[in-house]
Amino acid sequence: MEASGIFMTATAEFADALAAMRPMLLKIARLQLRNDTWAEDAVSETTIAALEGAAHFAGQSQVRTWVVGILKHKIIDHFRKSGREISSDAQQEAEEVETFDQLYRADGHKADEPQDWGDPETTLSRTQFFEILQTCIDKLPATLGRIFMMREWLEYETDQICKELGISSTNCFVMLFRARMRLRECLELNWFSSGKAQSAQ
């Protein structure tokens, strides 16, 4: 059987595909774990698990989804084992609060008017959008980036997050709010306002 587009794990072809995915997996792991060693370990474990798991796939995107799923679980396991290691840098947090407040005027209105982002379907089909999204997440202050990814990518419930990170529920919501508004600004600045949204048709 040699129909193209059918991947079977435990073949040389699959091993090559995994190798090609490595940079992306590393990027995701680094974003989450904020530590190169942990990230490399997680990706190595993911690679091994993927090579060991024999399966048929109808195409590359299915393979990718499956492998990323393995990585997600490795990351969740890491969080469970290591508890709350992100130290809250008081200085960094103070800066974050200050810069965040500049997004709004004193009367509670937004400082800049939000743009129209156009058709979501078109946006989400652009690979460039995801690159910029990843960059924007990377730019977030460490604590905000982490909580955002736990909520939106690992899809933890907020009470799970509060428990894992040992923070109050109020704090949780405040941090998610800040993370989302900052991401909104960053996306608008870099994707939607730069003309990329329109030109990438």
Partner: protein, 62 residues
């Protein structure tokens, strides 16, 4: 009804939009948010943008 008790600022609306992504809002807050969105195009945009952000995250890595 004194409108001071009902009207919220855009920043407060954004806080509620964000909270709503994590849990259902209590009735009073839900009402205030709905009223604000009815009259504020900018916050209506931000609301849509939050959906795009969430959808984008669901697709990340696929």
């Amino acid at each position: 009804m004194n409108s001071r008790w009902v009207r919220i600022t855009c920043r407060e609306a954004h806080v509620l939009l964000s909270e709503r992504m994590d849990r259902p809002l209590p009735a009073w807050r839900r009402l205030r948010l709905r009223l604000h969105l009815a009259f504020c195009d900018m916050c209506t945009r931000v609301n849509r943008q939050m959906s795009v952000l969430r959808e984008g995250m669901r697709s990340l890595g696929r």
